[in-house]
Amino acid sequence: MLKTGTVWKQLSSGWMVSSLTVILSIPFLIGVALLIKSTPLFSSQSLWQLIGTSEWAPSEGRFGFLPFIFSSFYVTILSFLFAAPVCLLSAIYLTQFASPRLSTIMHPVIDILAGIPSVIYGVWGILIIVPFISQVAAPLFGTTSPGYSILAGGIVLAVMCIPYMLNMLIETFRTVPVGLREAALSLGATGWESVKHVVIRKSISGIISSFGLGLAKAFGETLAVMMVVGNMVRLDANPFQAGYPLPALIANNYGEMLSIPRYDSALMFAAFLLLVIILIINLVFRYFIYKAQKV
């Protein structure tokens, strides 16, 4: 009895430790594997040429990632501009003003929004946002648009990121002590003033971090964006025209990447870029959140 007990104990604690080690080593494995795969690319072009030029001709061996990086940032920032105010306002409402009943309704709503797969958002974008842009928004601004555009990508992405950012913002606001707010109220501040001067100021680092993580999430989103963004290689500041973000580049071309020399390296390099950018954003802002939670 005692013996089987010790064997079981060693087996299971070994199992626990090795599981944890395997999981924690995943990002390093991914980074190294993608980097090794993309090294053939560096033999003909320097890093600067890769990310600083905009000529994209895989069959001639020229890979300029600038249009893709540009589109990625453009879509991400656009989506952020739509999503951030909505998230901030509703997080304030749900933590400071709302009745408990509304909060119990909102929790499943946020959870379900967060759980809807990106392809469903993509279908919704094609059905609603794309025709809206080509038929309503573009004529309103006096231009024409195919509908499949940077703006469409930004809107769909914004809707997808809202539940993600909102959850983090709500967590942040919950950590602000009620006493602080009550102190402001007892000094004669209105409810809104106590929010503006106390709650927001107190949780400013959490707010910035939530926004940062939302940006990172938007930056890596693939399918929904790819379905509505048009996928044309171009450097164009007009949001009513098509773009081609990095994740869409990878997802669209995996089929032919093995038939053109160094094309697979280029796509793996794109994945590596995504990984590095997103991991850095995540590590930095998560660090802020942990610091803020400790204080």
Partner: protein
């Protein structure tokens, strides 16, 4: 009180309220649109038959291949995630309970892992697959999706475990059980409904994710019988059918989207009923 202050307060309160209620509206809008477009071409044939020869030109058949493929991949990946994730979460909360710094470092790291986009996992899975000499297959899809959902599972389960009162843990140790016994006999039992929630969340993510299986699982009209055969998945079935120029095929993409939405809704609601005990929500 100053009138301007009250006006400002009212304006912002209204704005905040509008922002909150617009989320409910958004969810309803998305689901209604998907259902409205999809219910028309939803039929028993869609969910009981694989595509026939002329399916992609508007012929007979359904998307049973994609439904089965998605279930295989999500179930397989969830099993792997349980095998690695469950002990890892227990270890963080039992063995490392005194080492707060290490615990926080691991959580920090897992959260960062959660942020890696699925397309990167897909590209990595593809590299791994080629290195292992595999082709696009069920197995490659399962491994890639497992990589994607394991951090999600651990962190969700971990949130629940960390809320279990320390006293229970100490009582178990005081009765003479080891850390490992405490982990599996006390903590796992106490946090079991949280564990089920974590499994369901991971499963939902696995069944809905497309970018990770795009490279690795391939696409086929057949129902896979072996781990080394390619498998179709529901999100990709929607994606591919939607890009068809033929209206009947597009209609079926909407129907497939309706099926996927229904599956996700069922999973979310089940997970909710299990997690109702725990008031803390998890970040997705």
């Amino acid at each position: 009180m100053n009138r301007r202050k009250i006006i400002e307060q009212n304006i912002f309160r209204t704005l905040c309220g509008i922002a909150s209620y617009s989320l409910i509206f958004m969810l309803g809008f998305i689901i209604l649109i998907i259902f409205y477009k999809g219910v028309g071409s939803l039929s028993l044939e869609m969910v009981t038959k694989p595509p026939s020869g002329g399916y992609y030109f508007g012929g007979d058949g359904g998307i049973l291949n994609a439904i089965i493929g998605s279930l295989y991949i999500a179930i397989g990946a969830t099993l792997i995630a349980i095998i690695f994730g469950m002990p890892a979460a227990l270890y963080i909360n039992v063995h490392l309970v005194k080492r707060k710094k290490l615990q926080n470092a691991i959580r920090y790291f897992l959260d960062a892992l959660w942020g890696i986009p699925s397309i990167v996992y897909g590209a990595f899975g593809f590299t791994l697959m080629l290195a292992m000499g595999l082709g696009a297959s069920l197995l490659a899809g399962i491994i890639t999706v497992a990589l994607l959902i394991t951090p999600i599972m651990i962190r969700t389960f971990d949130e629940v475990l960390s809320a279990i009162p320390m006293g229970l843990h100490e009582a178990s140790l005081a009765l003479g059980s080891t850390n490992t016994q405490t982990a599996f006999r006390v903590m796992l039992k106490q946090g079991f409904s949280g564990f089920i929630t974590a499994v369901l969340l991971a499963f939902g993510r696995g069944i809905g994710d497309a970018a990770s299986v795009l490279f690795t699982a391939g696409y086929t009209d057949l129902i896979p019988r072996n781990l080394d055969e390619p498998a179709a998945t529901l999100p990709l079935a929607i994606f591919f059918q939607l890009s068809s120029p033929i209206p009947e095929v597009q209609e079926r993409a909407y129907a497939a989207a309706t099926i996927l939405t229904i599956i996700i809704l069922i999973i979310s609601l089940t997970a909710r009923t299990f997690s109702r005990k725990f008031t803390r929500t998890s970040i997705k």
